[in-house]
C-alpha cells in the first residue's frame, strides 16, 4: 500500500478543528482529521430513562468523574473518564479538567454564550500594564468574528459598550421583564451596562462543529476523518526537522499507526494540544509551552427571590429573561482591589427554586418551595483570571494514560486578584439585589477550582517575540512554519468572555492564512 501524504493533518474535531477543516477544504486542500473518540449518535447511543433504572439513581458514578462537577449518571459516558485519561496535580491545588473526546468534542455541549473580546483584552497590557498585549487587535479579528457569528447564528442586540463589541447578530427583540427593569435601575450607581444576552442559536437546536462546520468540509470531498485515533506524538522529518505527520494508536484495537502530512494543525483543545507538543518535544524553543494557563472564575454568585412573584403570582410581565453585564471595573476608572474585572450573568426565572436556598427541611421546606416557586433571580459571576508564568502544565514522568501516553501535571491556582474579584462581585450583586427589592436567599464568594468554567486557554500563547511566545499572530509555530495551534492555547489573556467565538475566529483566520501560504508554496 502506498502511503498517502495529506496536505494538512488536523488533530481534533471540535470548534477549532471543524473550522480549520471547513476553511482549508473549501480552498481545495486535502485534509485528514483525527479524533480521539467515537462518533456520538443520539438515536443509537441515548434514550430517555427514569433515574431509578440507573445503577446510582442518577447520582454521578462514584469516583469516576470526580472533577467533572457538570456530570450526572445520565451523561457520565460522554465525558473523558479520569481513570482512563488521568492528569495529576498537587492536592492543595485542585484542577477540574473537563473533557469530551466524542467527534465534535466540547462543541457538542456548550452554553452558547457568544462574545467578542475587546481591545481591553487584546491590548490589556497597554491599558493597565499587566501581562502582554496580543499581537493582534479587535480590528484584525472583527471580520472573522462577523463570519463566525453568521455561521453560528448568534442572537443579540447592538447594545454593547466598548468592552463588549457589537457584532453580526440575529436581532433579539424581547423586552425586559419588570424584575429585569428593577435590576437595571438598581445597578445604575455602579455604571454597569446591562445588555441583552448573546447566544449562538445554531441550526436545528445545535451549534456545533458536527452540524455547522464539518458538513461543509465533507461536501468538498476533500476531508478524510478517522475516529478513535488517539495521537501519541507528532513526527518530524529526519532530514528537515519539520513536522510530517503523527503516530496514533487506535483506541479500540490498540494498534499503532501513523499518517503523513505536509502541515500539522493542532485543534485538540487547549491542554491536549499542549500535552501533545510537550510529548513530541516540539516547537518549544521559547520554553513557554505549558505556561500562562488561564480560565475564568466560576461559582461565585447569588440566588434571590422577587417577593412580588411568590405565592403563584409570577407572570411573564414580572419574571423572565436574561442579561449580560460586561466587565465594568477598571474600564474608565482604576479600581484598587484588583486588576481587570468580571461580568455578571443575570437570569430571571419562573421555575422552581432549589431546596438548598432554604435552611429548612420536611414540611416547612415543602411550604417554602411552594411559596417561592416562580420567583427566582440569579446573578452569577465570570471573572478574568490573570495570565501568570507560574500557572503551568508539564508532562508527568511517572504516569501514563490507558494508551501509555504520558499525562499532564497541572500546577495552577488563583491569587488574591481572583479571590478579591469574586468577593467584590458578590458584594455588588447583593447590594443591587437589595436595592431592587429582591431577597437574597444564598450567596457564594469562593470560586470553584480552576478549570471548572471549561474555558481553559493559554499555554501556547501567541506573540511577535519568539523568545516570549510559542506562536506568531497567525497561530503558527515560531519554530516550525508547518505547525499551527488553532484552539484556545494561543490566548494571551483570558478576558471575562466565553472563549468560543474567539477560538472560532482565530481558527478561521489562521486557516485562511495557511491556505494562502500553501498556495504561494511558502508552507
Amino acid at each position: 500500500m502506498t502511503e498517502t501524504t495529506y496536505d494538512v493533518l488536523i488533530i481534533g474535531s471540535g470548534h477549532a478543528g471543524g473550522m480549520a477543516a471547513k476553511i482549508l477544504t473549501e480552498k481545495g486542500i486535502h485534509c485528514l482529521m483525527l479524533n480521539a473518540g467515537p462518533v456520538a449518535d443520539v438515536a443509537r447511543d441515548a434514550q430517555r430513562k427514569p433515574a431509578y433504572e440507573l445503577p446510582y439513581r442518577g447520582f454521578k458514578p462514584p469516583g469516576r468523574l470526580e472533577h467533572v462537577f457538570q456530570a450526572s449518571e445520565f451523561n457520565a459516558n460522554v465525558w473523558v473518564d479520569e481513570k482512563e485519561v488521568p492528569y495529576t496535580f498537587d492536592p492543595s491545588m485542585p484542577y477540574n479538567w473537563v473533557r469530551v473526546r466524542l467527534f465534535g468534542g466540547r462543541s457538542l455541549f456548550w452554553s452558547r454564550q457568544s462574545f467578542r473580546l475587546s481591545d481591553y483584552e487584546f491590548k490589556g497590557k497597554s491599558h493597565d500594564g499587566f501581562g502582554e498585549d496580543w499581537p493582534i487587535s479587535l480590528a484584525d479579528l472583527a471580520p472573522y468574528y462577523s463570519r463566525v457569528e453568521d455561521i453560528f447564528q448568534v442572537e443579540g442586540a447592538q447594545d454593547g459598550p466598548p468592552q463588549m463589541p457589537n457584532g453580526n447578530f440575529v436581532p433579539v427583540n424581547e423586552v425586559w421583564s419588570e424584575s429585569m427593569q428593577r435590576f437595571i435601575k438598581a445597578s445604575q450607581p455602579y455604571n454597569m451596562a446591562v445588555c441583552k444576552q448573546r447566544r449562538a442559536l445554531g441550526r436545528d437546536g445545535l451549534a456545533s462543529s458536527v452540524n455547522l462546520l464539518l458538513p461543509d468540509a465533507e461536501r468538498t470531498g476533500k476531508l478524510t476523518s478517522i475516529a478513535n485515533a488517539v495521537v501519541r506524538q507528532i513526527t518530524v522529518d529526519k532530514n528537515t526537522g519539520q513536522p510530517n505527520g503523527c503516530l496514533f494508536v487506535d483506541r479500540l484495537s490498540r494498534r499503532e499507526m501513523h499518517v503523513k502530512a505536509r502541515v500539522v494543525v493542532l485543534a485538540a483543545g487547549t491542554l491536549e494540544s499542549t500535552r501533545l507538543l510537550l510529548n513530541s518535544n516540539l516547537g518549544n524553543s521559547s520554553g513557554m509551552i505549558g505556561h500562562y494557563l488561564m480560565d475564568q472564575i466560576y461559582g461565585p454568585g447569588i440566588t434571590c427571590s422577587v417577593p412580588e412573584a411568590r405565592n403563584g403570582k409570577a407572570t411573564k410581565q414580572l419574571m423572565g429573561g436574561g442579561a449580560i453585564v460586561p466587565r465594568f471595573r477598571n474600564i474608565t476608572t482604576k479600581y484598587d482591589k484588583f486588576l481587570r474585572g468580571y461580568a455578571l450573568n443575570v437570569t430571571s426565572r419562573m421555575g422552581a427554586i432549589e431546596p438548598r436556598n432554604f435552611a429548612a427541611y420536611g414540611a416547612e421546606l415543602q411550604q417554602k418551595l411552594k411559596e417561592y416557586n416562580g420567583s427566582a433571580f440569579h446573578i452569577t459571576v465570570m471573572g478574568e483570571v490573570l495570565g501568570r508564568y507560574e500557572n503551568h502544565v508539564r508532562i508527568d514522568k511517572e504516569k501514563v494514560d490507558a494508551w501509555d501516553i504520558p499525562v499532564l501535571n497541572i500546577q495552577t491556582k488563583y491569587t488574591d486578584n481572583e479571590f478579591n474579584m469574586a468577593k467584590d462581585a458578590v458584594e455588588v450583586g447583593c447590594a443591587v439585589a437589595d436595592a431592587a427589592g429582591f431577597e437574597v436567599l444564598s450567596k457564594n464568594d469562593v470560586p470553584n477550582p480552576p478549570g471548572y468554567s471549561i474555558h481553559e486557554v493559554g499555554t501556547c500563547r501567541m506573540g511577535d517575540d519568539p523568545k516570549k511566545s510559542v506562536l506568531n499572530k497567525w497561530c503558527q509555530s515560531h519554530d516550525h512554519k508547518n505547525l499551527f495551534v488553532v484552539d484556545g492555547a494561543s490566548f494571551v489573556s483570558a478576558g471575562w468572555q466565553n472563549p468560543t467565538m474567539t477560538i472560532l475566529a482565530l481558527s478561521m483566520r489562521a486557516s485562511e492564512y495557511l491556505a494562502s501560504e500553501m498556495s504561494k508554496q511558502n508552507v
Partner: protein, 237 residues
C-alpha cells in the same frame, strides 16, 4: 485407480466450471454449521421481554454503615424527608439502604463526611438527651439538626464541620428519594409521566479491552482458548 477415486474425479470434472467461476468471488461464504446461523433471528420485530429495576423489588443488607450508624441515618432520613402530600418519604423510597450502597462505593472523603457525621449526631444526642438519635422524637431531633442547616449555592456545600454533613446528607437524601421508583410510582398514580427521567447516554463504542474503571475487570473480548486437561487440541488465537 480405486473406484471411489474414479467417481470423485468424474464429479470434480463436472463441477470444474462452477469452481472456476466461484474463484472470482474473493471470499466465498463458509458452509453453514447448522440449519440457521446462530446470530440470525433477532430482528426489529422481535418482542422485547419486559423487565423491572431490581431497586424497589429486592432487599439489600447494609454494607457500609454500622448498625448504629444505619439506625441514626434512618431516623435522619425520616426526619428530613417524611411522606408529604401524595409523595413517599425517604424511608418508603428505600433511601437509607441506597445511600449505604452509594456512599460505600464513594471515595474516602465522602465516606468520612457520612460516618463522622452520623457518629457525631448520635454522640450529640446521647450527651443532650441520654438517648441514641434513632430514638429521639421530632422536637428533640430538630433541636440538634436545625442549628446546622445553611443556605448554599451549587457545588459549594458548607465546609464547616457538622454543617457539611447535615446539608450534604439532606441534599443526597432528597435526590435519592426523588429519583426512586416509589417517587415515580406516586407520580404515575397521580397521572404524571415518570418525573425522574432524563436522556441517558450509554457507553459509546466502549473500549472493552481498556483500562477504564468500568471495564477493568472485564476479560479481553477475544479469548485465547484455555489449555484443556484432555487431549482435544486447542488453537490459541
Amino acid at each position: 485407480m480405486l473406484r471411489r477415486d474414479f467417481v470423485r474425479a468424474v464429479v470434480s470434472v463436472g463441477l470444474l466450471p462452477k469452481a472456476l467461476l466461484a474463484q472470482q468471488t474473493a471470499n466465498p461464504a463458509p458452509p453453514p454449521p447448522a440449519p440457521v446461523p446462530w446470530t440470525l433471528g433477532l430482528n426489529p420485530k422481535t418482542p422485547l421481554p419486559v423487565t423491572e429495576a431490581a431497586d424497589g423489588i429486592a432487599e439489600t443488607e447494609a454494607s457500609f454503615f454500622t448498625s448504629t450508624q444505619l439506625a441514626t441515618f434512618t431516623r435522619l432520613c425520616d426526619l428530613l424527608l417524611p411522606p408529604l402530600d401524595s409523595k413517599p418519604g425517604a424511608l418508603q423510597a428505600g433511601t437509607p439502604m441506597f445511600l449505604d450502597f452509594l456512599i460505600g462505593s464513594s471515595p474516602m472523603p465522602r465516606k468520612k463526611v457520612y460516618s463522622g457525621g452520623l457518629d457525631w449526631l448520635d454522640a450529640a444526642s446521647k450527651t443532650k438527651y441520654k438517648l441514641p438519635f434513632a430514638q429521639l422524637n421530632a422536637t428533640q431531633a430538630d433541636a440538634l439538626i436545625k442549628p446546622w442547616l445553611r443556605t448554599w449555592m451549587t457545588d459549594h456545600p458548607p465546609t464547616e464541620q457538622h454543617a457539611d454533613f447535615i446539608n450534604i446528607a439532606h441534599e443526597d437524601i432528597r435526590v435519592a428519594t426523588m429519583n426512586s421508583k416509589a417517587w415515580d410510582d406516586a407520580g404515575v398514580a397521580a397521572g404524571q409521566d415518570w418525573v425522574t427521567g432524563g436522556l441517558y447516554w450509554s457507553p459509546i463504542e466502549p473500549d472493552m479491552a481498556g483500562l477504564g474503571t468500568t471495564s477493568t475487570q472485564l476479560p479481553p473480548h477475544v479469548m485465547a482458548v484455555p489449555k484443556a486437561p484432555h487431549s482435544i487440541p486447542s488453537y490459541p488465537r
